[in-house]
Point group: C2
Chain length 120, copies 2
């Protein structure tokens, strides 16, 4: 059985179904935006190093500044980003403000990234 039209489609019929199927399997816009924000946040070397340091223990801005060799202002700016994305939490102790990873999820995400980076 031949189709009525003689123009051949630029693509096989199967692709349309494939496209629809894959499209439907994609996360919703909000989740997608949040995912890329999280990955993007850890994509900056300074923020990643902050997160890695906080994997060990809670630290204040001054300590992080010393550990990374970056100005306190720069650290504070990056912590703001991480805080807004709920990757870290803060608590004040006198003059100092101590930051920690928000939850175990962040820890596991970093662990997974580390594993991938170390292979090969």
């Amino acid at each position: 059985m031949m189709p009525m039209t003689t123009e051949c489609a630029p693509h096989e019929q199967a692709d349309e179904a494939t496209i629809a199927r894959v499209q439907q399997s994609m996360p919703d816009t909000h989740t997608l935006a949040r995912m890329s924000e999280i990955f993007g946040a850890l994509g900056d070397p300074t923020r990643l190093r902050i997160a890695l340091a906080l994997c060990r223990q809670p630290l204040c801005v001054h300590d992080l500044s010393q550990i990374l060799g970056v100005s306190e202002s720069a650290v504070s700016h990056q912590l703001r980003t991480l805080r807004m994305l709920r990757l870290v939490t803060s608590r004040r102790a006198g003059k100092r403000v101590y930051y920690s990873l928000d939850d175990a999820h962040v820890y596991r995400l970093i662990e997974e990234g580390l594993k991938h980076a170390q292979e090969r």
Copy 2:
């Protein structure tokens, strides 16, 4: 026993040890760079969507272009980035070039990111 100097240190003695300990626990420069490159790659919405689509099945540039609603050139450019970071692999089939996730590590990393993004 009191120290000879009367000037008080701007920080407690403990912090220096803390700084050294955390610094030593940090991954080496190369691993760190690779980690941030990987996270950064998934931090771009287009590249993340490409990776998510490839979580389902291998796809060619044309299909990805349709699925994401982005020009083929843009898709190709982003695939180049993902390929250079070894997050995806390609194989030619006739005119088409099919891309897939490089390995299970990438899949798990995306899974972990998705889980984190969906909570709360």
